[in-house]
């Protein structure tokens, strides 16, 4: 059976899970993690009795597809950021830096579109972003943000890997996270050479960062306008 068919079959198998969005569960969750889900801006959606996503704009869903949607959300953030960086590069950007940041933009777009394709009709919609506090004309500001996003991406994949059930998806997550780590190392080195894996990201046991989905989304939500319901994701 071709890989694409296998993927399709798995999607169908997971479809029911994804569809089982519980508004009650969401409401319980919202009380516990109000920082993640901004309720006020979209209260009107509660008026629809068929609304399956509670007050959040998007629901990541559950199981492996929930984790893939989580990754898709993060890749949307990174791709949107680098697209903006390349659309109007900071002044005086060296050619080599522009070339590498363009590479990174393309990688993030490839990641984003990969998830969108794999998720197909289970994919969350396009997220809306805000770039509060980022000065795209400033090299320091852009690179500091890039560093934060890349380190966060590495920690996100490292922390989500154990939640993945399907081996093929775990391998793909591994295929992406090492590229994010290469990005992180490059960005860190052009900010300050030699900081590719310094003690601020690698601990005394030689281990990189690892963060749970809710920790990551809480940080990422500073840049995401769309409200995200992550309450159905698997946890540990």
């Amino acid at each position: 059976m071709p890989k694409s068919q296998i993927t399709q079959t798995r999607m169908e198998a997971n479809q029911k899970e994804i569809a089982q969005v519980s508004r009650r569960k969401f409401l319980g969750f919202a009380g516990a993690a109000t920082g993640l889900i901004v309720v006020a801006s979209s209260c009107n959606k509660n008026d629809s009795p068929t609304g399956s996503t509670g007050t959040a704009d998007v629901d990541l869903g559950s199981g492996d597809f929930g984790i893939l949607n989580y990754a898709y959300a993060l890749e949307q953030l990174e791709a949107a950021f680098y697209t903006k960086v390349i659309d109007s590069p900071y002044s005086g950007i060296p050619a080599q830096e522009l070339a590498m940041l363009t590479d990174i933009r393309d990688h993030e777009i490839a990641h984003r579109e990969f998830f969108k394709t794999v998720l197909a009709d289970k994919a969350i919609g396009d997220l809306e972003f805000k770039w509060t506090g980022i000065d795209f004309a400033s090299r320091d500001s852009v690179l500091a943000t890039a560093k934060a996003f890349e380190d966060l991406g590495v920690a996100a994949y490292n922390g989500a890997g154990r939640l993945i059930v399907m081996a093929d998806y775990l391998v793909v997550a591994g295929q992406i996270v090492s590229v994010e780590a290469r990005h992180a190392a490059y960005i860190r080195d052009i900010i300050s050479n030699g900081t590719f894996a310094d003690d601020t990201v690698v601990d005394a046991m030689g281990l990189d960062g690892s963060k749970k989905p809710l920790e990551v989304l809480e940080i990422a939500s500073n840049y995401i306008v769309t409200t995200i319901d992550a309450s159905n994701l698997p946890t540990y």
């Binding site: 777009i109 780590a181 190392a185 030689g206």
Partner: protein
């Protein structure tokens, strides 16, 4: 590499190994006979597949210990490589280069120690550190990389190959760690540190050397940027641009070149391929 020695080591680590392959005892005997006849280069591949069969369909502590011991062997290789480099006079320029190699060396040693603890924690026994020959001469010291600790460019080339191979090696075992919880997380946390190392070594090569082509922090196509075919097995397959059945080139109408598509996803490498690559470095 002495295959029988490794089999014995594995047997020490996992007393069940021979039991597991008991029904395949004749296969093992055939293997032992065969190993005397076939070209040495082919042996690790045969060994890898035998090993895979022995463990097929099993899960549990022995698996975890075996995978961690596999990782430990690779970390021993890297840790000793950098330790020896740092002890080699006039090899690494003082300043940024020396500091970077010290950072990497510190991590590899930490990985060795971490894995030894983790193997103990799952009830396994850590494998002994192999004897290494970084000339890739199988113990002769006269292999193709015999100037690796006096020629900085060659040193960086071998370092890049080890790091990129390490990144691929961890990915090659990821599927077996589904459900392994914290052990999977730890493996991922080591894996991404190796990728950071690889990216930095690649930048060092670009800044230091000539003849490195357009080497980037990420892997373009199946290009090593290293001027010897000896390292090519570490890069074969990296030019893949179809991920889980999804073609990445120009995906969904976005302009994504084959180079960018290959760079976007690092590729796994099987234990058999990894063992074949490191064969010459293990006495």
């Amino acid at each position: 590499m002495n295959i029988n020695h490794i089999l014995n080591e594995m047997n020490k680590v996992d007393a069940d190994l021979y039991d597991r392959i008991d029904t395949r005892r004749s296969a093992l005997r055939d293997f032992a006979n065969m190993s005397g006849k076939v070209a040495l280069a082919a042996v690790p591949i045969a060994f890898g597949s035998l090993f895979k069969k022995a463990y097929a369909g099993t899960t549990g502590v022995a698996d975890a210990a075996e995978i961690l011991n596999y990782a430990l062997t690779l970390e021993y290789l890297e840790a000793e490589f950098y330790s020896m480099a740092l002890l080699s006079p006039n090899l690494i320029p003082a300043g940024a280069a020396s500091q970077a190699i010290q950072t990497i060396s510190k991590h590899e040693t930490a990985h060795v120690n971490f894995l030894i603890s983790a193997i103990g924690a799952v009830g396994g026994t850590p494998v002994d550190k192999p004897t290494f020959d970084f000339s890739a001469g199988n113990g002769t010291g006269e292999g193709p990389f015999k100037t690796v600790f006096s020629d900085f460019g060659l040193f960086l080339s071998v370092a890049q190959t080890f790091e990129d191979t390490g990144v691929r090696a961890y990915k090659g075992r990821a599927a077996e760690l589904v459900g392994a919880g914290a052990y999977l997380t730890a493996a991922l946390q080591i894996h991404s540190v190796e990728a950071r190392h690889a990216a930095h070594i690649r930048q060092m090569r670009k800044n230091y050397g000539s003849g490195v082509g357009n080497v980037k922090p990420w892997i373009t196509g199946n290009m090593s940027g290293i001027n010897t075919p000896l390292v090519q097995p570490s890069y074969n397959g990296e030019d893949n641009t179809t991920i889980a059945g999804v073609p990445i080139v120009n995906i969904n109408g976005f302009s994504i070149s084959a180079d960018a598509a290959s760079e976007s996803f690092d590729e796994p490498l099987s234990p058999a391929d990894v063992l074949a690559i490191i064969d010459g470095f293990i006495v």
